[in-house]
Every structure is written in C-alpha cells, then in structure tokens.
C-alpha cells in the first residue's frame, strides 16, 4: 500500500517480536506529514508570506551591504529632508537616511521575536504535556494559574514586567516568552488530553516506560502538528507585541534602527507634515506581520485538516 516504505521495515528484516501495526502506523503518520507539507507548498497565501518574510530576512542579514548609507550616520545640516533622488525615503530628525534605517531595522525584530516565540513554545509545550498528562491536582492548580495569567492582556503583563526589570532585548525575549507560554500550554494540553487516551500510551505504560519517556518520546511527536501551528501563529503575535512595546519605548531600545523605535522617536513630527520618517517604518512593520500571518494561515490549514 505504501510504496515509499523505508528500508529496514521490509519483509526481510522483520523480526518476530516486532508487532506489525506499529511500523504501519508510523509509516502512515510519515505519509500524512509529507502530504501536509505538499499542501503547504501549494498554498498561495503561504508562498506569498514566505516571499515577503524572505525579503526581510535578506535585509536583516545583508542590511549593512544593501543599505545605500550608514543607518547610524547623522547629518544635522540635512535633517528631515523630504524623499528625493539622494534619499529615496528622505532623512529623519537627525539627518539619518530613512531607507537605510528601514533596511537594517529588520535585524532586531527578526532576532528577538523568533527567540521569544521559541522560548514560549518550549515552556508552553512542557507545561501543556504536564497538565494534560497528569490531570488531577497538577492540572487543576496549573490551569487555574494559567487562567489568571490569561485574564490580563499580554501587552499589560509585558509592560509591567519590563518596567520592573528594565528594558533590553534579553528582557523582551524572556518576558514575551514567559507571557506566551500559558497560551501555548493551553493548546498543547487540549491536544495531549485526546492523545493520552490512545492505546499506544497505555501500551507504553504497560511496558513500564518512564513517565518522561511517555510524555516526550511517545506523546510529543503526535502533538507536533498543533505545536507547529501554535508556533507560527504566536510568531505573528510576538512581532505585533514587540513592535508595540518598542513603540511605547519599552521594547527594543534606541539607537537601534528598529521600526517600532523609529516610529516611537518621530511620530510627534507627523502633525508637522514630516510623514516619511514614520510612514516607511510603519509600512515595513505592516508587511512583516501580514507576511508571518499569511504563513501561519497556510500552516494552520495544512496541519489542522490532516
């Protein structure tokens, strides 16, 4: 039935002790996963998002080479120059080239947001496995705490923690990671609750496997779909939240040419007619979050139908 059966599972190597259903199930799972990735590459929204994200990743890596000017070089005689042939996006209040700052500005957010999301996903997965697997008192206590945590908007918890700890990229990564963990834990918990009822979990328990082995080696691979979906969705929220924190002056810190920081520093100027130092970074943020969310939409459709 499955022509792509991997070597080693063929009839020649089958041993008497290996139950036949398990390799079959593993193969089916692998087949399903391949099908999901094929679906993903056919999704137009996913490809569109990936292309835009790719563009910004290139800007982040090679920004200093691509940028026409030094993004930090001030030019007080030439401040707030309107867009022209010399400065396509104009210059900001310190005479810095806005185009160069928009290009290099991709760096911080593209490091901070994925790391924060990764941290949140790792913590949330462990928390979700624990609450979903043990249920009972562990689940009740942790779930109540998670509920209390979720009653506050992410941005408010983030603001309070960052004010208390002092803003820096590392603080932002930890705070956003910690704030996202409960949300991810809730999704993983729901997936684990259905998964733990399957026979393979009971079988592993009968084989006397370690609880940690059952959770991480047996259940975890089977809930990887929802976790992947949750990661891509949360990455969009992380960019949203970190940009907002930077805009409020409590995320990424000046003089980094981060987009949120640029808007924070100069949005007071727009009522004076100086729109270019604010509009271009705003469009950059918009394109990045939309790209990540389009990708997340593609991933959700591919992996939740499967």
């Amino acid at each position: 039935m499955d022509p792509q059966q991997p070597a080693g599972a063929g009839p020649g190597t089958a041993t008497v002790t290996a139950p036949p259903e398990i390799p079959a199930r593993a193969d089916e799972a692998r087949q399903a996963r391949r099908e999901q990735f094929r679906l993903l590459w056919r999704s137009k929204t996913f490809i569109a998002g990936a292309l835009i994200l790719g563009f910004w990743v290139i800007c982040a890596i090679f920004g200093e080479v691509i940028a026409p000017d030094d993004p930090f070089a001030t030019d007080p005689l030439n401040d707030l120059a309107a867009p022209s042939g010399d400065h396509w996006f104009g210059t900001d209040r310190l005479g810095r080239d806005v185009l160069s700052r928009v290009i290099v500005g991709a760096q911080d957010i593209l490091i901070v947001a994925p790391l924060a999301t990764l941290l949140g996903t790792a913590l949330g997965t462990v928390l979700g496995l624990l609450t979903g697997y043990f249920r009972g008192a562990v689940d009740d206590v942790l779930s109540r705490i998670i509920d209390a945590f979720l009653a506050l908007p992410v941005i408010i918890v983030g603001l309070m923690a960052i004010v208390a700890l002092g803003p820096s990229n590392v603080t932002v990564i930890f705070v956003i990671g910690l704030v996202f963990a409960p949300v991810i834990a809730r999704t993983v918990r729901a997936a684990v609750l259905t998964e733990r009822e399957f026979e393979y979990v009971a079988a592993a328990r009968l084989r006397n496997e370690h609880t940690a082995y059952i959770m991480f080696a047996e259940i975890l691979p089977n809930v990887s779909g929802p976790i992947l979906v949750e990661f891509t969705v949360r990455l969009g929220y992380a960019i949203f939240t970190i940009a907002t924190l930077s805009f409020l002056g409590l995320g990424i810190q000046p003089p980094a040419p981060d987009w949120g920081v640029q808007i924070f520093e100069q949005y007071g100027l727009i009522s004076g007619g100086y729109w270019w130092p604010v509009l271009f970074p705003a469009l950059a943020i918009a394109s990045l979050v939309v790209a990540v969310n389009l990708m997340a939409d593609g991933v959700t459709q591919a992996f939740e139908r499967g």
Partner: protein, 317 residues
Amino acid sequence: MARFIAKRVLLGLITLWLLSVLIFLLAQVLPGDVGRRILGPFADQKAVDALNHELGTDRSLLAQYGDWIGGFVTGDMGESLAFRRPVDDVIGPALVNSAKLALLAFVIVVPLAIVGGVYAALKEGRPADRVISVGGISATAIPEFVWAVVLILVFALTLDLLPVTAQAPPESGFFTQLKYLLLPALCLVFVLFGYISRMARAGTIESLDSDYTRTAIIKGLPRRTVIRRHVLRNSLLPTIAVVATQIGYLIGGLVVIEVIFNYNGIGQALFDGLQQKDFPLLQSTVLIVGIVYLVATLLADILYSLLNPRLRLGAAE
C-alpha cells in the same frame, strides 16, 4: 443551571484571587525597593527608609497585600503617587472614557465582522471569501499604532476630516465627541475585525454542513429561509458570546491607542502609572482590567451555555 452558574462564579472568584496575587507580585515585589525606585540611586538611605515607612512599603508582604485588597473591596484604593489624588478619582472618569471608546469600536465592528464572516462562509472557497479572509487576517495582524499612524496621515492630515487627538473639548455634545473618537475607534475596529469575522465564518460553515441544514434543504425550503432560520440562528448566537472574550484584547489595544491619541482613559492611566512608577494607581488599574475581562468571559460562558443546552448539561456534571 443554577449549579452550573454557581460553579462558574466560584471558579471565577478563585481566578480573580490568583490574579490579584499575580498583580501584587508584579507591581510590588518585582520592582524591589519602592522608596529607592522613587527617589533614585543617589538618594540618602535615611530618606529612602523614611519614604518606605510613610508609604507602608517596609511592612511584611502579607500585610501590604491584605491592606491593598481590603481597601480595594471597600472602594479605598489609596493615593496615587503621581497625581496626588485618591486612585478612585483618577480611575473613575478614565473608565467612563474608555468605555465610550470601546463601545463605539464594538458598535462598528460587531455588525461589520458578522456580515463579512457570514458572507465569506456563503461564498466559501470563492474569490470573495479569500478577499475577506485574507483581508481580515491582515487587518488583525497589523498593530494598532501602525493603523493609527496610517489613519492619522490619511484622515487627519491629508484629508483634514477628523481631529488628531481623541479628547473632545469639555462639555461638547454627542456628535462632537463621536467625531473625536472615530479615528481611535477605527484602529481598534481593524484589529478586532479579523478575529470576529473568522468566528462568524467558521460557525456559519459548520452549520451549513450540518444534518439539520441538509434536512431543511431536502424538505424543499427556499435557500433564504434555510439560511435565516436554520443556519444563522445556530451560527450567530455563539459568535456573539465569543465577542465578549475579545474585551481582553481590546483593553490591551486601548493602552496604545489612548497614548497615541492622547485620550484620558484607563489605558493612559495604566501607562502613566507604569512610567511614573505609581504603584497604587498601577495595581488597582490592572486589577480592574482583569475584573472587567473575567466578568465579560463569565457572562459569555453563561450566555453561550444558555444558547447551547448540550454544553450546559455536559459541563454541569
């Protein structure tokens, strides 16, 4: 039913208590020495100690927590350090202002998102559906402050139709206030639209797929009647209940919007409290935000179960 509600209320109260502990820890314990924070690193230790004694922050954490909660319940939230006024005097008008802004945003977004979502569901898979779905995702993904910048540039500065601030002059009438609140409310509308329309779309698609809809079609009812009587009735009521849970996100957005548009609401009060390290103001504001969210979700839960007897009976066991 009464048992179900009692259980939900009890769980809500436990969550609320945990929330108050969490806020207390975030606002009191994380910042460390409050007197030192206010007076700065170069202040004399004696002055710091004296201020801590005056503020009561040199007592045990348990005593401070008990004092705060006791005061909060009786309506005495202490004195704001930044405004030198009782905290309830600052929070009261701010709550009213924020409620106005939030209400306007909801009045615009709920009908718009439901119509959009239902229309997308009826055209599932066709271009109209893709446009609404992708447009909704994009509108929701873009942070409020980015929408604010773009909308201010277009409607306030280029077209000169609407004011740049949200605070209407004192004593202004309903329509003047409306004019001032329109731009900030629109920023919130964009961010809320995607989520609510997605819920409405999913609910409608689910009930279009159901057996009772198929039965109604096979019975020979006209499509209009099937949609109005069978599809919408089942898909929309849960969607409306879900809208209540969006209040949490809305308040997060209010912080940013009120700061940009210079509007005297709960978000601005919270941000001031943070920046000025005004912990009495901060604690109580955040707790009120949490209470608003918990009450809204509780009402949504009860409403949802009233509309869905299967869930009510299942959850009450």
